[in-house]
């Protein structure tokens, strides 16, 4: 007799075998649907926004408060000593500062002369706190405590210190997920700063344990790229604004095809204990279908 048939007076329950089968199909459908579109993103991100994000915020707040308290206690003794030394240093630095101000004035003039826009400093930014790290050990993405209500949008660039961290890959009302450049499945298009050679920077789980990531497809036919060169985001990237520091070249090796080069790159950001990040609110302008239509109309 089939186990699904209902007996008199017995409460109906679905056998777990069938339930497993049904849920598997649901999951598979969701996998395909989310692979093709993003219609689930919005309702789900709203749902978790009110259940889990406050919890994460609370716990990470407690954590940072505890570690701050710990640091405080350790530091008091050192601080008194340091204070003396610092006072002496202040007067020294004030002197130096005036000199540097003059230098900066000169630099600004030179920049204007070179028509180099100080674009990197010119972007509008907002700070956010990291409240949750990827619970699996496979990727290094994380959740931050700002979302669409704070003006965060999909694909916005995220920096920390002076280097590139990644981009916003999902946005909830007051949380968003940042996909970092060291994650195994991300690639960034970069440029070597002085020689303007393009390359592809790829994150790697295998290499990040040694503190490096890899790059490839560097043409460099004139052999101008050297170790220690700065790599910044390129103009041709569709997500990243140009000129954000990614890292420094550590090694250069010729590929077996003798045309391109690849090697290792030291990221500019220390991903190990990342706590606060800056989100650049300006987005790379992309040509949408609407723009094309407008352009056609003008013609």
């Amino acid at each position: 007799m089939s186990p699904v048939i209902k007996k008199k007076g017995e409460k109906f329950t679905l056998p777990s075998k069938y339930l497993l089968f049904i849920l598997t199909i649901i999951c598979s459908i969701m996998l395909v649907v989310t692979y093709v579109t993003d219609i689930f993103d919005k309702p789900l991100s709203y749902a978790v926004n009110y259940i889990i994000v406050p919890y994460q915020k609370g716990i990470s707040a407690i954590g940072s408060r505890l570690s701050a308290k710990k640091d405080e206690l350790v530091m008091i003794a050192d601080l008194i000593e340091e204070n003396e030394a610092l006072k002496a240093k202040v007067s020294e630095l004030e002197d130096e500062n005036t000199r540097l101000m003059q230098d900066k004035y000169e630099l600004n003039n030179l920049r204007a002369l070179f028509e180099l826009d100080a674009a990197y400093e010119g972007y509008k930014k907002t700070g956010a706190r990291v409240i949750y790290h990827d619970a699996s050990n496979w990727f290094s993405n994380f959740i931050i405590n700002k979302g669409s209500e704070d003006g965060i949008e999909l694909n916005m660039n995220v920096v920390a210190g002076n280097g590139l961290v990644g981009y916003v890959s999902m946005v909830g009302p007051n949380w968003s997920r940042v996909t970092s450049i060291i994650s195994d499945n991300t690639n960034v298009s970069g440029t070597v700063l002085y020689s303007s050679e393009n390359l592809i920077v790829s994150g790697s789980l295998e290499l990040i344990n040694q503190g490096v990531i890899s790059y490839s497809q560097l043409l460099d036919s004139k052999e101008t790229v050297g170790e220690g060169d700065k790599v910044v985001t390129s103009n041709i990237s569709d997500k990243y604004l140009p000129g954000i520091l990614i890292g420094y070249i550590q090694t250069i090796e010729n590929d077996s095809n003798n045309l391109t080069k690849s090697g290792l790159l030291i990221p500019a950001v220390n991903f190990e204990n990342i706590e606060e990040v800056l989100i650049i609110l300006d987005q790379k302008m992309n040509i949408t279908d609407k723009d094309i239509e407008e352009a056609e109309k003008l013609e």
Partner: protein, 172 residues
């Protein structure tokens, strides 16, 4: 009802702790898989049905927050919960070996599945590295946490069971 609410609280708490507290206490960038301990223990204590539902929702949490596509972690956790539920017939509260072995086995299966679908398919062929540096350390660390966490889960299970039995008696 009471059990459902407590289970939900346990799952959400362990999910939150996994990405906050245990990420701070990591060894060599590897942190334990608390959700797997919860899912396997629930399956073992209550059977296939509970195991697979707990697994499905735990996986869904991971999917929504961490994965670009929804469904992968749900399927993995669901099947592991279901598998643990099949051992419900040989579950004795005093026995610690079976849950330990089950959780260790599940974690290795979980690690291998993650590797196979998210790394191997993208052409990362160095399986030895990923096993040695991610899967096995995660499994060992998870075992250490299990030693502390499993008795607590068992205690909650026993308390709930007692309450449920009392209610049944009253009803009859």
């Amino acid at each position: 009802m009471k059990r459902t609410i407590i289970s939900i609280v346990i799952i959400i708490t362990s999910f939150v702790l996994q990405g906050t507290l245990f990420k701070a206490l990591d060894f060599g960038n590897v942190s334990p898989n608390l959700l797997l301990i919860i899912v396997v223990s629930m399956g073992l204590m209550k059977g296939q049905r509970t195991g697979l539902i707990a697994g499905f929702f735990s996986g869904l949490l991971c999917d929504v927050f961490l994965s670009p596509y929804i469904g992968f972690y749900s399927i993995v956790y669901m099947y592991l919960g279901y598998m643990a539920g099949s051992f419900n017939r040989v579950f004795f509260p005093e026995d610690v070996k079976l849950p330990m072995a089950l959780i260790a086995g599940s974690d290795l299966i979980y690690g291998f599945t993650c590797y196979a679908f998210m790394f191997l398919l993208r052409g990362r062929l160095n399986i030895g590295y990923y096993m040695l540096h991610v899967c096995i350390p995660e499994c060992v660390y998870t075992m250490v946490v299990t030693v502390i966490l499993y008795p607590a889960l068992l205690w909650i299970h026993k308390r709930l069971e007692k309450g449920e039995r009392k209610q049944e008696k009253k009803f009859v």
